[in-house]
Amino acid sequence: MSAASLSTGRRRGVWRGRIFVGLLLLSMAVGFLALGTLCVDVLQKGLAYFDSVLLTNGPSSDPDIAGARPAILATLYLGVLLILFTVPIGVGTAIYLEEYADRHRWPNRLLELNIQNLAAVPSIVYGILGLAFLVRGLGLGRVLLAGALILTLLVLPTVIIAAREAIRAVPSSIREGAYALGATQWQVVSRQVLPAAIPGIATGSILALARAIGETAPLILIGALTFISFNPTVMGPFTALPVQIYNWTKLPDEKFKALAAAAIIVLLIMVLLLNAGAIWLRNRYQKRW
């Protein structure tokens, strides 16, 4: 055959390829447009109130001196407690399920199925559970700790699933290599598997945390009060940033709606910082071996 026969005059599949790329761009655009619109809208409305008053003052019936300090602090506290609770429990569960449990035995299979289903349970259900079990059953009361525990239950399945994926992604050749050198199972897990899985675990955990920080429904249910002018304590009544935003948007005064927009900016910045932290952590551990 001569070389000229390669030029058939038409290129098959070109249009199909273009349509595919177009669809990909479209799906990306949906996300970008939604997020972009949200950001522009919130910035337009809220920038005027995004100032030191918002960060340092407590709530007030006068929108000009109203701030969200107690709510911001409570959200920070919730975030810290959430990390302290979810990461050890979530990673521990994931290690057990991946490295120790015999996947063929039915109690473990049931456990796995359960965890996957729990990840899909609406957050309000966790709120009801928290109200009945933590606030009333255990008599914890409507305190910040109860809120943190409910959010822990809410994101735990997500953290477990993310951590399991990260652990599973560690090649088995690494485990074999470590075992062949005479390492015990605990040494293999703690010195090889876990360090190799940290980037994935960190990313999954922080994304789950970012989601929990924006949660409103379960917190409202256990009575995250809206008018709290003092700094929160772990065992005291509290409000959280999303609850504060929700309440401000309900007020008739337009100024409060602008205030809500400003508080959304604060929340967005917090979530962005968390995500940046996740990326930093991942890159650091990927480079450092």
Binding site: D102, H104, P171, S173, I174, R175, E176, G177, A178, Y179, A180, L181, G182, A183, T184, Q187, R191, Q192, P195, A196, W289
Partner: protein, 280 residues
């Protein structure tokens, strides 16, 4: 210019003075070993002896159970829940599968190098130091790491970059690092499961040269696909084959003898067919 030789020629050219049987020290005494995965016997009724400071090669077609076999010597099959081992392997007279024997203790003495280089995603130094660290051999760790890398003929290439990732090394270097990693815990036996099958010819030659050096101090057991390799490096060679019985495939040991015998005057027709390339 390189002349490509058949394994038979290679084996013929090797002048080999093996110590007579009465002077050989038995490291492993395998008798009646059968390994099953679930109901399927992967390996059936294998008996042989592995001698000290010998290179012993296991050859045979795919699926003949030679990898399964080598993994019995350091109890790596324990990690596969469905695997069951019957028969005995005596290691210096001690039953490796006795209930009181700790698999971790076994693997400490009997190191293993795998088919695909599997360095840990850590620095070169940390890779070699891992074994000593988990076994508590941390006196003069740097000296230990250096000696191991020198034994594995890798020291000169990596001495200025010990803190770099082991994954930055070439495939051949990675495999020598894995060998160094084993040597760092001063094992008695080195098991190698097709250590050169993923490497280029030059790296393969280096690994083979290394084995010649190492057999002065260690007992080496190697699984290989490559018959020239077995002919070049092994003192003793075991030929495994596949037997089909009731529709089930299982590996059997066909013949075990000094390498030149296996390649030049094998007792079994199946061995002859295989080593001369007539295997169908």
């Amino acid at each position: 210019m390189t002349i490509i030789e058949s394994p038979v020629q290679v084996a013929q050219q090797r002048e080999r003075e093996l110590p007579p049987p009465e002077q050989r020290e038995v490291v492993f005494d395998v008798s009646g070993l059968t390994v099953r995965y679930g109901d399927n016997p992967a390996l059936k009724d294998v008996s042989l002896e592995v001698y000290r400071n010998f290179v012993t090669a296991f050859i045979g077609p795919s699926g003949c159970g030679k990898s399964t076999f080598i993994r019995c010597f350091n109890r790596m099959n324990d990690l596969i829940p469905s695997a069951a081992v019957e028969g005995t392997i005596l290691y210096h007279g001690e039953d490796l599968y006795a209930p009181a024997v700790d698999a971790v203790e076994v693997r400490k003495r009997i190191g293993m190098v795998f088919q695909k280089p599997n360095p840990f995603p850590k620095s070169i130094h940390a890779n070699v130091a891992f074994g000593p660290r988990v076994l508590g051999m941390t006196d003069d760790l740097d000296g230990r790491v250096e000696r191991a890398l020198q034994q594995a003929a890798l020291w000169d290439e990596v001495k200025d970059r010990l803190d770099e990732s082991a994954l930055s090394l070439s495939g051949g270097q990675q495999q020598r690092l894995c060998i160094a990693r084993c040597l760092a815990v001063e094992p008695d036996v080195l098991l190698m499961d097709e250590p050169a099958s993923a490497l280029d010819p030059i790296s393969t030659t280096r690994i083979e040269d290394l084995m010649h050096e190492l057999k002065r101090e260690y007992t080496i057991v190697i699984v290989t696909h490559n018959m020239q390799q077995a002919a070049r490096i092994a003192d003793m060679t075991a030929f495994f084959s596949v037997q089909i019985e009731d529709g089930r495939r299982s590996g059997i040991l066909v013949e075990y003898d000094a390498t030149p015998t296996i390649f030049t005057k094998p007792a079994d027709k199946r061995t002859e067919d295989y080593v001369t390339g007539r295997f169908g």
